[in-house]
């Protein structure tokens, strides 16, 4: 073994000088491959894993592992197990019986019905499954039982190895206060603050100065962001002190105040750590996870464009110090908030026992998420309220957040370091020491991950949607693309589980390349049957602020203060879209004329070859005049007098259509094409609805009456599919505008449905326990 390390070491050294190596050496120098194979991004993972497994095959780990999870992470763990020659057992609920992770595993055990509390959280059934299948270890994935110390205890009692951190580490990091104390002890930067009785304004100023401006002042007893004030100087501190102490006394009868460092333009950057049972720990660089909505990551990338190597090292070393302090022996994440001056503060370590159960927009119970609170506060001050959701009803969101941050397995980190984190977790769980040193951990290239969710990004950056994936095609044919998913065509996205479709990862030698690849990957991703957030993801990755690296955790709400509205077309893009849509329309009209003739059935057709198609096309309530003519595969289209040439194969059956518009290559998806001329086209990530009519039809269409839309203020419809948790009214009741009618739970979200106007309830169409679909009628007012 030692010999191998030496040779590896020399290989690395040589590799740095950019020398090439004989093939036979490569086999042995697995690590070299780990470092450098990533340049060959396309084969990177494959190669890495093959070589890696070659090396690891000598190491005996487990014969059989039970994967106590579902979906993407279960599939991901099973993949590594297969590579390591470990047999796998999947657990599943009734509804998941034919899902991908079940098919991939060697064995599968049903652990209960669909609700997670009865299946994936059902410890008895899972323990039973472990005994039945004689699995030697359990990989919990993330969420579910991954941070449940009871479960870890049960496993220990049965001599089954828990692939994850030790119970005491889970416990230590699970407690907010204890973890902060531990962090302080380990000399990790924490958010400076003061919590207690402040005598007078002068003392407040003194404390504030000590902490350093800006600071945040509020009553200790006030939950969340309530009554929070931000002070940038002494004056403001005095004001803040006055208001907060008054409020503390009057509202809470508790004089204590909380003064804490206010982190300006915070970025959420986390360090991946890896520890073993021998007291070793490594940091595997950082991930930038600042693009979030409702405290859940949307996009992450590694490395961070913001960190310099100094800060990176400092953060890494502190993270390792903390991991060592709690004897952390697995893969874990240490999260930091980083301010605009690259000061970083420990937020939490991801192996908490249980996340605070519920949070609401504007009422975060996580102290750590001050920025979010501050933002809400500022918006309140401006008098801008949360925009209404859906039609005619207001809804407030609250979510039972189950581990937004705890993904044990992070593809972007794997991409830039070449490590297989799951494999390392399994190794250290078995008791092997880490096989890398800090110096071995490279940053090769750039990786970006988009979380593709089944959710509607136009409603609060993402309300869950459900459905059956009628068509599904991952863009894995593109270079540098990796997709971690647990679904297949025909899979159901149900109300019971996380609505994540996949982690879409692109890799490139630099950030620009990785982002360009992400753009292509998103355009080539075919997801039909459920609403998805590709429009939002694509908008973010081409946003100039994002591209420059100038962003923080408030990015989404800053960029889209009135909610996400889809891509804003430039005039050129709009013309391209109109030209493509018109060409599609004409192509399908021309095809409708092509009947294959049967023998002596029809007289040969005289081709009514029209020179010019005069069309009227409506997009976003604007009507454009288009004249299209075609020769072969190329359409010459005049949009409002501007000429464009559009070329494509015009395959009307293919879900993806590559179109060349005046030299610009665009990948579009035509989602629907109706006889009445309506068409939905996904262009630049966003779905646009157009209506194309011939000139004659458009003229006549002017006489068509606008149908009166139903009065939505007196009816309440479900804005999303879900389950009715509670109904608060019955027919005959008087309700006031804004009064809660019922609560609908979808995935992990509870949606309070409120009356759109004051009135008497005519009828209620749902009861607690009902499953409702999007647009289903819930209640009618008289």
């Amino acid at each position: 073994m030692a010999a191998l390390w030496v040779s590896v070491g020399s290989l690395i050294a040589a590799g740095r000088r950019g020398q090439r190596f004989p093939q036979q050496l490569m086999q042995r120098g697995a690590l070299w491959t780990l470092k450098y194979a990533s340049y060959y991004s396309r084969q990177q993972l494959m190669v890495t894993r093959r070589l890696c497994s070659a090396e690891c095959s000598n190491e005996k780990t487990f014969d059989k592992i039970l994967v106590a999870n579902r979906g993407e992470i279960a599939c991901r763990v099973i993949k590594t197990c297969k590579k390591m020659g470990i047999k796998t057992v999947a657990i599943h609920s009734d509804v998941d019986a034919s899902s991908v992770h079940v098919k991939m595993a060697d064995e599968a055990v049903c652990v209960g019905p669909a609700p997670t509390s009865k299946s994936y959280l059902n410890m008895d059934a899972i323990m039973e499954a472990i005994k039945k299948t004689r699995a030697q270890a359990v990989h919990p994935g993330y969420g579910f039982l991954s941070e449940n110390k009871e479960f870890a205890k049960c496993l220990a009692a049965e001599d089954v190895i828990f692939i994850g951190p030790d119970t005491h580490a889970i416990q230590a990091m699970g407690d907010k206060i204890e973890s902060k104390l531990l962090a302080k002890k380990a000399k990790v930067n924490t958010i400076p603050g003061f919590d207690g009785v402040v005598k007078d304004a002068d003392e407040a100023v003194r404390i504030a100065r000590e902490i350093g401006y800006p600071v945040m002042i509020k009553a200790s007893a006030g939950g969340g962001g309530k009554g929070m004030r931000i002070a940038w100087d002494d004056e403001e501190t005095r004001d803040g002190f006055r208001f907060s102490s008054q409020e503390a006394a009057s509202s809470f009868g508790d004089d204590r105040l909380l003064i804490e460092k206010f982190i300006d333009n915070p970025r959420h950057i986390e360090i991946q750590v890896l520890g073993d049972k021998h007291g070793n720990a490594l940091w595997l660089n950082e991930r930038e996870c600042s693009i979030q909505r409702r405290n859940q990551k949307v996009i992450e990338e590694a490395p961070s464009i913001f960190l310099d190597s100094m800060t990176r090292r400092a953060m890494g070393e502190q993270a390792v110090a903390l991991a060592k302090a709690v004897k952390y022996s697995s893969a874990g994440t240490v999260e930091f908030l980083v301010d605009s001056k690259k000061n970083f503060y420990f937020l939490e370590m991801n192996t908490r026992l249980q996340v605070p159960a519920t949070w609401k927009i504007g009422d975060s119970c996580l102290k750590a998420h001050l920025p979010v609170e501050a933002e809400v506060f500022i918006r309140r001050k401006r008098g801008t309220e949360e925009k209404d959701q859906g039609r005619g009803m207001k809804s407030s969101l609250c979510a039972n957040e189950d581990s937004p941050f705890h993904k044990v397995e992070h593809p972007v980190t794997e991409c830039i370091t070449g490590l297989d984190l799951v494999q390392e977790m399994i190794r250290v769980a078995k008791g092997y020491p880490l096989r890398h040193t800090q110096a071995d951990i490279p940053i090769n290239g750039w990786a970006v991950e988009c979380r593709v969710y089944a959710e509607d990004p136009y409603k609060s950056f993402g309300l869950p949607s459900i459905g059956r994936l009628s068509q599904y095609q991952e863009p894995i044919h593109l270079p540098g693309v990796r997709v971690d998913s647990g679904i297949q065509p025909g899979s159901d996205i149900s109300i019971y589980y996380d609505p994540m479709i996949s982690k879409l990862v692109t890799y490139g030698s630099n950030r620009t390349e990785a982002l360009k690849r992400m753009e292509d990957a998103l355009d080539n991703y075919v997801i039909r049957g459920v609403t998805h957030n590709i429009a939002l993801l694509r908008e973010v990755i081409i946003n100039s602020r994002f591209v420059k690296g100038d962003f923080n955790t408030k990015f989404l709400s800053d960029e889209y203060p009135d909610g996400f509205k889809g891509h804003k077309l430039t005039e050129n893009e709009r013309n391209q879209l109109l030209a493509i849509a018109s060409s599609l329309f004409v192509a399908s009209q021309l095809r409708a004329q092509h009947f294959q003739e049967h023998e002596n059935s029809r007289v040969p057709i005289v081709k009514s070859q029209v020179a010019n198609w005069e069309l009227s096309i409506k997009l976003n309530d604007e009507v454009h005049t288009v004249v299209a003519s075609n020769s072969g595969k190329t359409f010459s289209v005049e949009v409002d007098g501007l000429k464009l040439n559009v070329t494509s194969t015009w395959n009307l059956a293919s879900p993806l259509l590559s179109v060349n518009v005046d030299g610009t290559q665009r990948m579009i998806q035509c989602l629907s094409r109706e006889a009445g001329g309506s068409m939905s086209i996904q262009f630049l990530g966003t779905v646009y609805k157009v209506r194309i009519l011939t000139k004659v039809a458009a003229e006549l269409n002017k006489f068509m009456l606008e149908k009166v839309a139903e009065d939505t203020s007196s009816i309440l419809r479900s804005p999303m599919p879900g389950m009715v948790v509670a109904v608060a009214v019955k027919p005959g009741d008087m309700v006031a505008e804004g009064q809660e009618i019922c609560v609908i739970e979808a995935m992990k979200m509870q949606n309070s449905m409120t009356a759109g106007k004051t009135g008497k309830v005519k009828s209620v169409h749902c009861k607690a326990g009902d499953t409702v679909g999007e647009g289903d009628l819930l209640m009618e007012l008289q």
Binding site: D94, A97, S98, R468, L469, S470, Q471, Y472, Q488, P489, G490, S491, Q589, R591, A592, Q593, H594, F595, Q596, H598, S601, R602, V603, P604, I605, V606, K607, S608, V610, W613, N651, L652, A653, S654, A675, G676, G677, L693, T694, K695, V696, A697, L700, N701, F703, M704, L705, K707
Partner: protein
């Protein structure tokens, strides 16, 4: 478009709506000059319709003039091509010829002359083998003309009946259509309506009020919603005139020109051997759980294009047109999402009529079966489920077009026989691995066979093992193969190719006697 396109190419064979025009035009040409002059005058008057005031009134109601409707129905370019001549035909067309009753001219009521023109056109359409499309916007018989207009109706009805099964006949109701006029659409193959502006009833709300003292609005009595959801008189409803005519063009493309023509084949971009992996998991494991049969249909057919007929009536059966490898096919499928997909009176009649249309016009039938049986109960028995269920049975048995059947899950009892089974001369019958072909479900069967026995659960398990699977049928050859759902499209496309040359001779008879 295709209508117009075919017209343009029709040459010697007149066809479709425009063929009707051409008849009119031709008769004009043979007139002496002086009469032509008169026609010119009349045409000018006709072009004005009932005058600007009435034209505006029609537009205000969100309705188009007959001439405008025609311009939408036809390929606009072919219209422009023959400019003046078409305008000429159109005038006649709008005035009297064809079944398009110009509301602004006659108040839509039917005169003897009007009826005569319609009959002429239909006769011509039949002799050349071209479909007839009627755009109805009529107030009923012209009371002023008395018995003559009644005779006119009967003449049209006779033509409808004579043309039935010879050429496709389509009615699009675009305004009121009351009294005797309603029977012509009823006799045609398909009746479409325009929402909010069209009504079909024998007697209007006023008469209803005076006779039965019922208070009912026009819309409730005979609006598009009523006829597409409750009565089943209309096959589909569209938002407005423009939508309706655009959809009619699309629909028309599925149909052959006459019963002598094979089903049309359109250029197809969707590979015929495309595998459909999403179907492998579509049938839920619990046999009590529903799924959407429409998902299966959309996945299997070309480009997910499916023109559903009667989508809001008797929803426990899905019928409609689609294409397989470019060729038009008729699809029949039980819908497990609605009433478990059982057959009842309405769904049987809906299915039977569709099957007979396809059979009459050489359109192959593809049947997706997931049927737990016929709906029990007094309502059904008193309503004559035996008689009505027999219609669907009759229709499938009688059909000689290529018949491909796929049993996706349940095929229980008599309903199994009915749904295009092998025994009714199904050409190719497939079962998915999830198929359960048996006399009845396990629970019911065990209750009968093991009446009084204690160990019911074991007996049920045994029954499921023995009968609730595709093997008993497969070993007897009642299904030709048990196929992977993902291969369904490829198999059907292949079978349809083989079956193109299918020929079946039935014994001579005057006509068969379907249990009406």
């Amino acid at each position: 478009m295709a209508a117009a396109m075919r017209v343009a190419g029709a040459g010697a064979r007149l066809s479709v709506v425009v063929s009707d025009l051409r008849v009119a035009a031709r008769s004009l040409c043979s007139q002496p000059v002086s009469i032509n002059q008169r026609v010119e005058d009349k045409r000018r008057a006709a072009l004005m319709g009932g005058g600007q005031r009435r034209i505006d009134a029609q537009h205000k109601r969100g309705k188009l003039l007959a001439r405008e409707r025609i311009s939408l129905l036809l390929d606009p370019d072919s219209f422009i091509e023959s400019d003046m001549f078409v305008e000429h035909r159109c005038a006649d067309f709008g005035m009297a010829a064809d079944k398009n009753k110009d509301f602004t001219v006659f108040g839509g009521s039917l005169s003897g002359a009007h009826a005569q023109k319609i009959c002429k056109i239909m006769d011509q359409a039949m002799t050349v083998g071209a479909p007839v499309i009627g755009l109805n916007d009529s107030g009923g018989a012209r009371i002023q003309e008395g018995v003559e207009s009644l005779a006119g109706y009967a003449d049209i009805f006779l033509r409808n009946v004579m043309a039935s099964g010879v050429i496709p006949q389509i009615s699009l109701i675009m305004g009121p259509c009351a009294g005797g006029a309603v029977y012509s659409p009823a006799l045609t193959d398909f009746t479409f309506m325009v929402k909010d502006t069209s009504y079909l009833f024998i007697t209007g709300p006023d008469v209803v009020k005076s006779v039965t003292n019922e208070n009912v609005t026009q819309e409730e009595l005979g609006g598009a919603r009523t006829h597409t959801t409750i009565s089943g008189v209309a096959h589909r409803a569209f938002e407005n005139d423009v939508e309706a005519l655009c959809n009619l063009r699309e629909f028309f493309n599925y149909l052959p020109l006459s019963n002598l023509d094979p089903a049309p084949i359109r250029e197809c971009h969707d590979p015929s051997d495309r595998l459909v992996p999403e179907l492998d998991t579509i049938v839920p494991l619990e046999s009590t759980k529903a799924y959407n049969m429409a998902d299966i249909i959309h996945s299997v057919v070309d480009e997910r294009e499916f023109f559903e007929i009667m989508p809001n009536y008797a929803k426990n059966i899905i019928v409609g047109f689609a294409r397989m490898n470019g060729r038009t096919v008729g699809i029949v499928g039980n819908q497990p999402k609605v009433a478990s997909g059982c057959l009842d009176i309405n769904s049987s009649v809906k299915g039977a009529r569709f099957v007979r249309f396809c059979d009459a016009f050489n359109i192959p039938l593809i049947t997706f079966v997931d049927v737990p049986g016929f709906l029990p109960g007094t309502a059904q028995e008193y309503g004559g489920i035996i008689r009505h269920g027999a219609k669907l049975l009759y229709a499938f048995a009688e059909a000689t077009v290529p018949k491909v059947t796929v049993i996706t899950r349940k095929a229980y009892g008599g309903a199994y026989d009915v749904m295009s089974s092998k025994h009714l001369c199904g050409d190719t019958n497939y079962a998915w691995p999830t198929a359960e072909i048996a006399v009845m479900g396990a629970k019911g069967a065990v209750e009968i066979i093991f009446k009084g026995h204690e160990n019911v659960e074991d007996a049920q398990a045994e029954y499921i093992d023995k009968f609730a699977n595709p093997f008993p049928a497969a070993v007897r050859g009642f299904v030709d193969d048990i196929i992977q759902p993902s291969s369904t499209r490829a198999r059907i496309c292949c079978d349809l190719d083989v079956l193109t040359s299918k020929k079946v001779q039935r014994p001579w008879r005057k006509h068969a006697n379907i249990p009406l």
